[in-house]
């Protein structure tokens, strides 16, 4: 795939290096030649471009017309929004991924600015911390498909109505599916007959607004 990464900070460089190892063609853009120069181009698939990703000419030079994905990951939310809008509007890039630096700006990171997927590190970190400490609560780890699907997690507390039941016996909402059960550090691939234990970490993929039904099935009434 042809991927453009705008922003050669530590995040952008890491992404470029990792993605290039998978064989993708990467163009890494930054206004700083020094930043671009720091990238480790072992794979030989990374092309550095010194320029402002907020300019149509720079994106054109980066091959935006043929790019499959653009990741706007600078440390500046305004730049990420503008880069995304230009990528979608002027070049029709199919998948636009953007980084949210300040969670107060997260509300703008959607189709209104040409963004397909936004990633907010503070948000993710909070969710992961919640996941680590919250036993007996439903934690939303990740939103997918423009927010239409979500990956949720519950660590079953002692009083959970799900304990001792097989997955097929749980009153799970129709638009959800258990995708993994983590038990004692191992991943148990869930089948309809898998019986749940206390302290199991259950990962559920759900579409639609099913939080309360999931809560009822796995946490019980408070």
């Amino acid at each position: 795939m042809k991927i453009i990464i705008a922003g050669a900070g530590s995040v952008g460089r890491y992404m470029a290096e990792q993605l290039s190892k998978f064989g993708h063609d990467i163009v890494l853009i930054d206004t700083s030649a020094k930043a671009v120069g720091r990238v480790d181009n072992q794979s030989g698939n990374i092309v550095g471009l010194v320029g402002d990703g907020c300019e149509v000419s720079t994106l054109a030079n980066a091959g935006a017309k043929d790019a499959d994905v653009i990741a706007a990951v600078t440390g500046d939310d305004e730049d990420n929004l503008v880069i995304s809008l230009l990528a979608k509007q002027e070049f029709g890039v199919p998948r636009v991924v953007a980084r949210v630096n300040n969670p107060n700006n997260e509300w703008m990171f959607n189709e209104m600015w040409g963004i397909d997927v936004s990633v907010s590190t503070p948000h993710l970190l909070t969710a992961l911390v919640e996941e680590a400490v919250a036993v007996g609560s439903l934690v939303k780890l990740l939103s997918l498909e423009h927010g239409k699907a979500g990956l949720n997690e519950v660590t079953l507390a002692e009083g959970s109505p799900a304990i001792g039941k097989a997955i097929s016996q749980l009153a799970l909402p129709r638009e959800s599916t258990v995708v993994a059960v983590i038990r004692d550090g191992h991943v148990v691939v869930p089948t309809p007959d898998t019986v749940l234990h206390a302290a199991d970490e259950v990962l559920i993929l759900a579409t639609g607004d099913v939080e309360s039904e999931l809560g009822n099935a796995l946490i019980g009434n408070k």
Binding site: K65, K88, Q89, F91, G92, W107, E111, M112, G114
Partner: protein, 104 residues
Amino acid sequence: MFGRKKSASAPEVPSVVGVNISEAPRRERTTIVGKVVRMQSKPAHGLPTMVVSIGDETGTCIATWTGRRTIGAITLGRRIAITGVGTDASGILTFVNPEYQLLI
């Protein structure tokens, strides 16, 4: 004293040339000439979005304007030309915030 001139020398509006919707390339700056066949206002994330379906004899495409509910004189039946970079966003040729020209 001099008599009012009726702008005989003013330029004529050049006729707009577009490609057929069925033959329109993707991800290239393109002009489509057609008629507004459907208008929708689709709020997204609490903000207004205007979705206009434009048709010519060969097919239909969509022009989306973000952050607006209406644009003056873009109404059903209006002849219009739009210029932008089209994609197959929702399975149909779609333009986001294109330039447009109202035609008579």
